[in-house]
Amino acid sequence: MSFIAAENVTKQYSVNGPKILDNISLTIDKGEFVTLVGSSGCGKTTLLRCIAGLNDISSGKIYIDAKDCTTLTAGERNVGMVFQQYSLFPNMTAAQNVAFGLRMQHVDKNIIREKTREMLDIVQLGDKGDSYPSQLSGGQQQRVALARAIITEPTVLLLDEPLSAIDAKVRKMLQEEIRRIQRKFNITTIFVTHDQHEAMVMSDKIFLMDRGIIEQEGSPDHVYTHPVSFFAATFIGDNNVLDAASFAAVSGGNILEKYAVLRPEIIHLYKERGDIQEDCVAKAVVEDVIINGTTIRYLLNCSGVSLNVSVLYSASLQFRIGEELYAAFRREDCVFLER
């Protein structure tokens, strides 16, 4: 039996209204870090809140630790939750915030004090216990919120876009910290984000959602290299998704399926035709060059088709805007999609 499960969960606000969640089923193993990812309105936050018990579901079941929790309130489900913003209680210090859950469970005062200190050290805010939320930065506030959620040893940790309101630089550090803490305590975690990079970097498993259904699930690696639909291919990564006509223009070959997906790194660039080993070759003109630090992105115009190519930075081999070159790739590196 899986640790967390949703079984045929549907949510509508009125009987004939739109389905926010449409017959969703998923399973999560103990200790796994999974991410619900998708664009705004896909239902990922709603699903998370239904698992938390903050929203009711119209039909289906929710299991937490193999127990049917569908009719239980949020407090009864023993979950931990961190919100996107305004998580902390503004009238309490960081330490009081962290201690709140234990207070509600009537844990002994001394134990609370000790555990609170310990937890604040773990999130590296040991000296900020007496600070109020208004005195802490956004990143610090979310760390306190995380500590508050974990200290009660919840069955599952739920994070609703906790880093979306944080500065980019701090975000990267927090991504690592969340993952580190999650591994340390081995807590089953469900993370919601609209940022596909974040999903890829942090998760053991990704659930890609679109309009109330789960479009694809799998490890980040698998979802990246084997998208199952146009939506998946365009959402994750910076793929080139070509229809049959465009693929023919670029490769000279035909396809039976609807789309061909070319990941940016499978296309190799050559100055001379003679060195090429791949089976699909096309002439192209460089339209733009973007240096991303360790990689260079080239935007090519290949017989009217726009391609973006990603190569490792190399001082010796670089192309300039307007230069003509050959773009080559292996047909077997492409993914072909029916839909």
């Binding site: 949020a74 913003q85 902390l88 009238n91 859950g101 469970q105």
Partner: protein
Amino acid sequence: MRTRKQSHTYLLAILPFFLLVILFLFVPMISMLFKSFRSPETGAFTLNNYVTIFTKRYYLMSITNSLQVSLISTAAGIVIAFIAAFCFQKLGKKYRKVYTSALNMTSNFAGVTLAFSFMLLLGKTGTLVTLAKQMNMKSLADFDFYSVSGLMITYIYFQIPLGTLLLIPAFDSIKQEWKESSQVLKANSFQFWLYIGIPVLMPSILGTLSILFANSLSAYGTAYALMGNNFSLMTIRIAGMFTGDVVQQVELGSAMSTVLALLMCVSVVINMKYMGKAGELRK
């Protein structure tokens, strides 16, 4: 580069303001202050006026009455206003325009007009009193509206809409995330309000409290319409000392005015302190 010889004619524009404020605010205030320390017989400096109003029963009673009526009506008003604001915001954004209009409308209903309307309901031949007589509800049937209790009812009446209108925006600042976080951490609704909700709202509550207190302290029309000069309130006494048939007691009146003004100032300062804090917390 502007030369030093810039004309200062623009200062003429602010002259009317200075005149208004000096002639009709500062000078009267200061003269009142001076008069309060002046002896009516000799014209010399004295503290007697203040001693009199705090020792002679006639005057002391007006101070204690004013404080009593204000404190009680403010306390009752804030409790009702708090519950009302809580209930109103629970009803959601749909009805917001309706109930804020209703509250705005009733908050304009104060003073003499209010007193008379209540007389129609609770006076000797008032509607509710008649109704009570018919239904044999003795306590209501024998209710004497022209008393402190009657005054209290009218005072509470005009405190409620004002307090509610001031508190409703405060409830907006209670974030849904706080409620849900506390839910997940196994706190029930009562615990949420006790540990989080009310503490967060406290600056707004205290700020509103001080406004309500100042409001009822300075009320005149309602009390006068209801009980004329018969009930001893500071505002009524002060007015009586400057006008009316009895010999004028300008010095005593000034002393009492100063005391009232001080009480009002304290309220206003408290309000400014707490409303500022409330705004900060909301950030």
